[in-house]
């Protein structure tokens, strides 16, 4: 048995009081895909950041291909043939793909030659690994999927033979994810070693050879993927049994709560994002909107939530609401009984520098029960917050921590606690479980279903087909700002939805459907 | 004044007066430069309490503070320059800058080949208008079809310390034909005289004798004998006679300077005519209009 490509011995790392990594040892064999799972805040990103020289370990040794290597900074890591795709991409937003790729790996003081050389290599690499990117596209104009490919290209361009990916699929659509894994397998076949951090057990099972589990900063287990099961992993991770499937009674749809007619949205650049769509959501049901990110679902949510203006008619409980006038802001929406869990919790849903209890009042700061005369009644807010944080089992259950020092999962719980406990008639939810660990996912899903069962209407937007299928009572697919049709979860499957998301309408078992299967088969690289 | 001493003109003159007295008499004097308006009254009181006598202050801005303080220290004699404060123990020294400026304006117009002369003031305030107005009158008197270009440097304190802008204003005036410029702008004036010298035109200094700054390039200086005022005050010492003291051409309070640095520039007949004009002014045959008298100027608009 050969030398491990990477061996970490007794790595420890503390951030002030937080012990992020405790005496962690791990061996990663060359030419394998090694998965790492763990709850939010378990220490996965930290460990990998140490391996990549982004953070400095307090204790511990790193061996690369058997030889002890010190990695004081990323430069050393790159020299050691390590490449990393961070959870939060490290790209320069207003640079082109090409510029981002050569940054730090330029040859020569002048850019010209580097760029021409890079362009060639890039096209070569792109062809070799199906990493199609437009070298001249500017990062802030391209989707996360392509941004991620850029990150991978960055690593490959630096001749990395060890590739670390931190939650790569958190922001990808199924199709994109499939493509990513195809690429990873190809890289593996090339003999490269891959470390994959993810919250999705399915990916672990499908893609990895070995999997390590982390908990509270410690490495609790390392097992062969072939010798384990999702349920077992989940248990190792969370320390208790986890329901991986949402169990929910069939819905009893009631009155129409939300009626959308011919809604159009034009963004600030003048691009039409939503092209006249119509649908309705009834009390006591969850309508899931599936779609590839960037097809208008975000804008749809934002208009409903009062974050941008649009045209058309929207009725809530039969009453029309203002789409562009002075009552089209988020405040008036809330007054109409609409609660909104935004797609980007860190940028929109929370003020990261505010204490947890302050964030509980966020958006509802006008609420009379938070006021006492001219001032805000902080004690009341705090009391309210403590209750919500306790009921939603936010960890650590400390109102006085700033939002930014909670893990993504717990940040999300804070937002949900705030919005759901408002007991709204209509709940708008965007990407409820992005980047959140399975323990939290289970909890969040339960909360959403519970709200439905209280007879509330819920509009769910997610790029996670699994999530859509398991939560929704009806599924609508959005493509290029238009609804491609509606399905009942029972009567459809990921294949069909995947196709609709790609813009192909299809009646079950029609000719299109066949074509689809063929194509999907091809996509998965196995014969039909 | 807030302009700070060593502005090569006003405050420097005052300071020199004091030092001259100190050197000659071997006595010592306390002096202070101020940073804030609130410190004027403070300084006066502190010096008075410390028994300084007399207390001399240079600059109209002291007027108000002195008004407050003078009464409280009847045994201390105060001397204020450029301002009239009516109190039994105050000597108010005012200069007839308009007369001095008239003379240099006269000389400027005589020297000018382009019949265009310039004036550059620090800030548009009454005192500076007084300078400008006298200057313009003199120029017109020497040659009725002289054009007088007038600029003010700025509206913030920086206006008194901006030689660069002074230089540009000078160039702007040159481009309009001016070949003699008169600067009454503190530190800014340094830039004016410099640029004038560089561009090969003549300049006129102010307050102190600034001829030496650019020998042969400075036509003359409108000297305002602040130094004398201070010197005399200190000489007279405690119990000096108070009341209004007007320093004009008559008592050498103001005048133009002639020394080795500019004698080449001033021909004898020119000197003769100018001195004659001076005589007339002293004799009252020529009445130089004082801007402050009615806040109008016959030969210049602000």
């Amino acid at each position: 048995m050969s030398e491990p490509a990477i061996e970490l011995k007794g790595i420890s790392k503390a951030f002030g009081p937080v012990q992020a990594n405790k005496d962690i040892s791990i061996r990663v064999m060359p030419g394998t895909i090694h998965g790492i799972i763990g709850e939010n805040g378990a220490g996965k990103s930290t460990l990998m950041s140490i391996l990549y020289g982004f953070y400095k370990a307090d204790k511990g040794e790193i061996y690369i291909a058997g030889t002890k290597t010190s990695i004081p900074d990323s430069q050393a890591a790159i020299a050691a043939g390590i490449g990393m795709v961070f959870q939060h991409f490290k790209l320069v937003q207003n640079f082109t793909v090409l510029e981002n790729v050569i940054l730090g790996a330029e040859d020569g003081a002048l850019l010209g030659p580097s760029l021409t050389k890079a362009r060639k290599e890039l096209t070569a690499l792109a062809a070799e690994y199906e990493l199609n990117v437009d070298p001249d596209a500017v990062i802030q104009d391209i989707g996360v999927g392509m941004q991620q490919r850029v990150e991978i290209l960055k690593a490959l361009y630096r001749q990395a033979d060890i590739l670390i990916l931190d939650e790569p699929t958190g922001v990808l659509t199924p199709a994109e994810a499939d493509q990513l894994f195809r690429i990873l397998h190809r890289l593996k076949d090339e003999g490269k070693t891959i470390i994959l951090i993810t919250h999705k057990l399915r990916e672990i099972m499908e893609a990895t050879d070995t999997v390590s589990v982390m908990r509270r900063g410690e490495m609790t287990a390392t097992v062969k993927t072939s010798e384990t099961s999702p349920e077992h992993l989940a248990e190792l991770m969370v320390g208790r049994k986890v329901l991986l499937r949402v169990d929910k009674k069939p819905a009893q749809p009631g009155e129409k709560v939300l009626e959308v007619e011919n809604l159009k949205v034009v963004d600030s650049k003048g691009v039409v994002r939503v092209k006249g769509i119509s649908f309705e959501v009834r009390a006591g049901e969850i309508l899931g909107i599936a779609g590839v990110a960037g097809n208008g679902q975000s804008e749809l949510l934002e208009v409903l939530g009062g974050m941008r203006t649009g045209t058309g008619t929207i009725r809530v409980n039969g009453q029309e609401i203002d789409l562009s006038g002075k009552h089209s802001d988020a405040r008036s929406r809330r007054e109409r009984g609409i609660a909104h869990v935004p797609e980007d919790r860190q940028r929109e849903g929370l003020i990261m520098d505010f204490k947890a209890w302050e964030n509980i009042a966020f958006g509802y700061h006008d609420d009379v029960k938070y006021q006492s005369g001219l001032l805000m009644n902080n004690t009341a807010i705090r009391k309210d917050a403590e209750g919500k944080i306790e009921r939603f089992d936010v960890r650590p259950a400390n109102c006085d921590l700033e939002a930014k020092s909670f893990s993504g999962g717990n940040q999300q719980k804070i937002v949900l606690a705030r919005e759901i406990e408002r007991d709204p008639d209509l709940l708008l939810v965007g990407q409820p479980t992005r980047g959140v660990d399975i323990g939290a996912i289970e909890f969040i899903h339960q909360q959403i279903v519970a709200l439905r069962d209280k007879g509330k209407a819920i509009l769910l937007v997610s790029v996670e087909l699994e999530e859509i299928l398991s939560l929704s009572d009806r599924v609508a697919v959005i493509f290029d700002g238009q609804l491609m049709g509606e399905r009942l979860p029972a009567e459809t499957d990921e294949k069909e939805l995947g196709l609709m998301m790609a813009g192909m309408t299809s009646e079950p078992d029609g000719p299109v459907h066949k074509a689809v299967e063929a194509q999907l088969a091809h996509v998965h690289g196995k014969a039909p | 004044d807030l302009g700070g001493k060593f502005d090569k003109s006003f405050n420097e003159a005052a300071y020199n007066g004091a030092t001259r007295w100190a050197e000659e008499t071997g006595n010592s004097f306390a002096e202070v430069e101020l940073q804030s308006d609130a410190q004027r009254e403070q300084a006066l009181r502190r010096f008075a309490e410390a028994g300084s006598n007399p207390i001399v202050m240079a600059g109209f801005a002291f007027g108000n503070a002195l008004g407050e303080v003078a009464g409280d220290y009847p045994d201390t004699s105060f001397v204020i320059i450029d301002m009239v404060v009516d109190a039994p123990n105050v000597r108010s020294v005012v200069f007839n800058e308009h007369e001095g400026s008239y003379l240099v304006g006269y000389m400027a117009a005589q020297t000018s080949k382009t019949n265009t002369v310039g004036f550059i003031g620090g800030m548009d305030i009454p005192l500076i208008r007084k300078f400008a107005c006298g200057y313009a009158q003199g120029a017109k008197a020497a040659n009725p079809d002289t054009t007088v270009i007038s600029n003010m440097t700025g509206t913030t304190g920086a206006a008194w310390n901006d030689p660069v802008k002074g230089g540009e204003l000078t160039r702007a005036q040159i481009s309009q034909g001016a070949d003699v410029v008169y600067a009454a702008a503190g530190g800014t004036g340094i830039g004016v005289l410099q640029t004038a010298a560089d561009e090969g035109i003549l300049s006129i200094g102010v307050d102190s004798n600034q001829n030496y700054l650019h020998p042969g390039k400075v036509l003359t200086s409108m000297q305002k004998r602040v130094d004398n005022a201070v010197y005399n005050a200190m000489m007279d010492g405690p119990g000096l006679e108070t009341g209004l003291l007007v320093m004009g051409l008559g008592n050498d309070g103001v005048g133009y300077t002639l020394d080795e640095h500019n004698e080449a520039l001033i021909s004898d007949e020119m000197k003769a005519t100018v001195d004659a004009v001076a005589e007339k002014i002293v004799a009252g045959e020529i009445e130089v209009h004082d801007y402050m008298s009615d806040e109008t100027c016959p030969s210049l608009t602000f």
Binding site: D366 | Q35, E41, N64
Partner: protein, 364 residues
């Protein structure tokens, strides 16, 4: 970096920084050939050693509290208001007009009216930059800088051509009528039997300034407006999500900021000079930036920073009066204080941490 106990962070670190700044300054005094010990004594005793010194220290501090608060309020909405200088100057105009042209029966009413007018004038002077920032995205830093210059020109014109009494050399308004003269700290404390030097400029406005501190504290941390303002300052997209109107917040914040800066005029114009002179703000607007930054945009911090600068001003004045040490030395001292307690505070913190935490480690 090591975690310091809160008390150390709040007390020890600034103190050490202050000491370092003074040590350096005194070295400079030594170099320029004066006696540093004497200079230090003179400064400290001159500023804090007597009620007379306090009378001046507090006067300057009052100015800096107002301008410091002005900058701080804007900072909380992540707006950088460099316009305090101009807003305070225009505030002075507001005070002058009210005091000169309306006959007031008693200073109390006059003070109320003057404060209102100063605040309104200051706020209006901040309104245009605020509006342009909110509506047109014109950068507030440029516009406020420009408005400082414009204010200077405006006052120069008004004072020389309009408000100046005929025949006066001084580009300043006439003296305000007796009824508008504010009682000085000396008078007030004297009235209640506390001996305090008369004839010092500190006056009742000091209490207005303190009230302003309390007001700002409540505004920022206890009111709905403050909540929205801080949220907006932290994240604009989030503010929109929460239904906070960016335009409204920007304009209101800047107007409050301008009003605070304008209020300074009741101290220097109405309280001290009792007339409006040219350049009456004397850079207090810019000191306000340093004060706000050093006070970490918190009223308490600003209070202390303002006192510090007030003391430096007064101490500096004493130096000027009794030694031949040039007044510029005081500016250098101010610079070093800002540097060590403001910009290099982390360096100081590190040093303190080494001293404080090492021994603890040893014990453990």
């Amino acid at each position: 970096m090591e975690q310091l106990p809160k008390w150390a962070d709040l007390v020890v670190v600034p103190l050490v920084g202050l000491i370092m700044a003074f040590v350096l300054s005194m070295l400079m005094v030594l170099v320029t050939g004066h006696d540093p010990i004497q200079a230090l004594k003179l400064m400290v005793s001159g500023a804090l050693g007597s009620t007379y010194g306090w009378g001046y220290t507090l006067y300057y501090a009052t100015n800096f509290i107002f301008t410091g608060l002005a900058v701080a309020v804007a900072f909380h909405a992540s707006l950088f208001n460099i316009g305090g200088e101009g807003q305070a100057a225009i505030g002075g105009l507001g005070v002058a007009l009210v005091c000169l042209f309306i006959p007031w029966p008693h200073w109390t009413i006059a003070l109320l009216a003057a404060s209102a007018s100063a605040a309104v004038f200051g706020a209006l002077w901040a309104l245009i930059p605020a509006y342009l920032q909110a509506k047109r995205g014109s950068h507030i830093v440029i516009t406020t800088i420009m408005f400082n210059f414009i204010a200077a020109s405006l006052l120069n014109y008004v004072l020389v051509n309009q408000l100046r009494p005929r025949g006066s050399m001084d580009p300043a308004t006439a003296k305000f009528p007796e009824a508008t003269h504010l009682p000085s700290l000396g008078d007030m404390l004297g009235a209640v039997g506390i001996p305090f030097a008369k004839g010092t400029p500190a006056n009742v406005s000091l209490f207005v300034a303190l009230a302003a501190c309390v007001f700002v504290y409540y505004l920022i941390w206890r009111t709905r407006l403050g909540y929205q303002l801080r949220a907006f300052g932290k994240s604009q997209p989030a503010a929109v999500y929460a239904g906070i109107n960016p335009v409204k917040i920007t304009i209101i914040t800047m107007m409050i900021s301008g009003a605070l800066a304008g209020l300074m005029a009741i101290n220097n114009v109405m309280g001290e000079a009792e007339r409006l002179i040219l350049g009456s703000v004397e850079g207090a607007g810019f000191i306000g930036i340093a004060v706000a930054l050093m006070g970490r945009s918190h009223p308490i911090g600003i209070l202390f920073a303002a006192l510090l600068f007030g003391a430096l001003y007064q101490g500096g004045a004493e130096l000027g009066l009794w030694t031949s040490i040039p007044r510029e030395l005081v500016i250098v001292i101010q610079a070093l204080v800002i540097l060590f307690t403001g910009a290099l505070d982390n360096m100081v913190r590190l040093m303190v941490a080494k001293v404080l935490i090492r021994p603890k480690r040893a014990e453990a």
